[in-house]
Amino acid sequence: MACQGLEQGETVATLKKETEALKTKLETERAKLQDVELNTLAEKIEPVGQLNIKTRRILKGHGNKVLCVDWCTDKRRMVSSSQDGKVIVWDAYTTNKEHAVTMPCTWVMACAYAPSGCAIAAGGLDNKLSVYPLSLDKNENLASKRKPVAMHTNYVSHCTFTLSDMQVLTSSGDGTCALWDVESAQLLQSFHSHTADVLSLDMGPAETSNTFVSGGCDMKAKLWDMRSGQNVQSFETHQSDVNCVKFYPSGDAFATGSDDATCRFYDLRADREVAVFSKDSVIFGANSVDFSQSGRLLFAGYNDYTVNVWDVLKGTRLNILYGHENRISSLRMAPDGTSFCTASWDNTLRVWA
């Protein structure tokens, strides 16, 4: 029987004790740093002025629940994916559909636009992530150009291209995240630590672009080093599935949305939660969150069909945005911060500005 590198006297029991001791130590170390609350520091800041955000476009065309949306770097195109297997590329200014492809599976939970704007990726219940090159040809048969890149042992929940079209990061119901080379479809790095489905991931902004954060059904949010595959930091304060994770624009913090009806804000350098966005009246899970360009506003889409706008520094809710007729599955800020898009189970997408 191979017992790898057991030190003298080490057994499962002694290791378990050490685990508990380390967990307690982690908690005390983190608590020592809690010398002030973020919202206390923010008391003297001027409150946010009246926000005039409304639905400006409604994109209709999907025949079933829209599960994911991503913007193109050109700030006007978007790709969205749906329960019925359709992936559509839209021009958000005109609401025209530019491309459409039907995936060989239903529940396409993940879609992403390549940084160059020349390709899209999509995946879901087929356990794969496929990349489709986009062309200007109106008569293209996109489905025939499908290139499978990633292969998981359970559904693909989220995906993103890294800094270029060459690599994609995926998260999966199999509890892992993975980094893939698009050209060769090779697995470059896999990330193991979550003990349940991983539902979401977000890459750090350019300055911190070799890290990403993930959230899962084990109620944890984790920070990873992309090169080593190491789970560098772990955050466990949510009381239910973490549905969404998003980096703060500076890259030093991130927000999460969870089925426990709260959104939380974690600082990476303080290694702890620094704010909770919740209200007694908010009882539905938050599915997707994103920051405004300065990081002052956090937009969160919930299962009660609304978007709540939170003041990140003061921890207060500023606005509730109504419009969708079913739960919001995905919410993404446009690359230039002028608008954001929501995808919903009511089969539509809305652009708000």
Partner: protein, 71 residues
């Protein structure tokens, strides 16, 4: 693999301890300092945040312009 369960538990426990040791050794900053930096980032970039500040209709491609130009 008849002994898998016993050695499996051990490997899992070893991994958990290794991971926690790593996480415990992370260098941390005080919340007051970290939060101050977050706050400063917000305030410095606030003027460039279109959703926060609001932009005039003419600049925002999603807001309908007041008049249509017909060519």
């Amino acid at each position: 693999m008849s002994n898998n369960n016993a050695s499996g538990n051990l490997v899992v426990a070893q991994k958990a301890v290794k991971q926690l040791r790593l996480e415990a050794s992370v260098r941390r900053m005080k919340v007051s300092q970290a939060a101050t930096e977050l706050k400063n980032f917000c305030l410095q970039n606030a003027s460039k945040d279109p959703l926060l500040m609001g932009v005039p209709s003419s600049d925002n491609p999603f807001r309908p312009p007041k008049s249509c130009s017909i060519f």
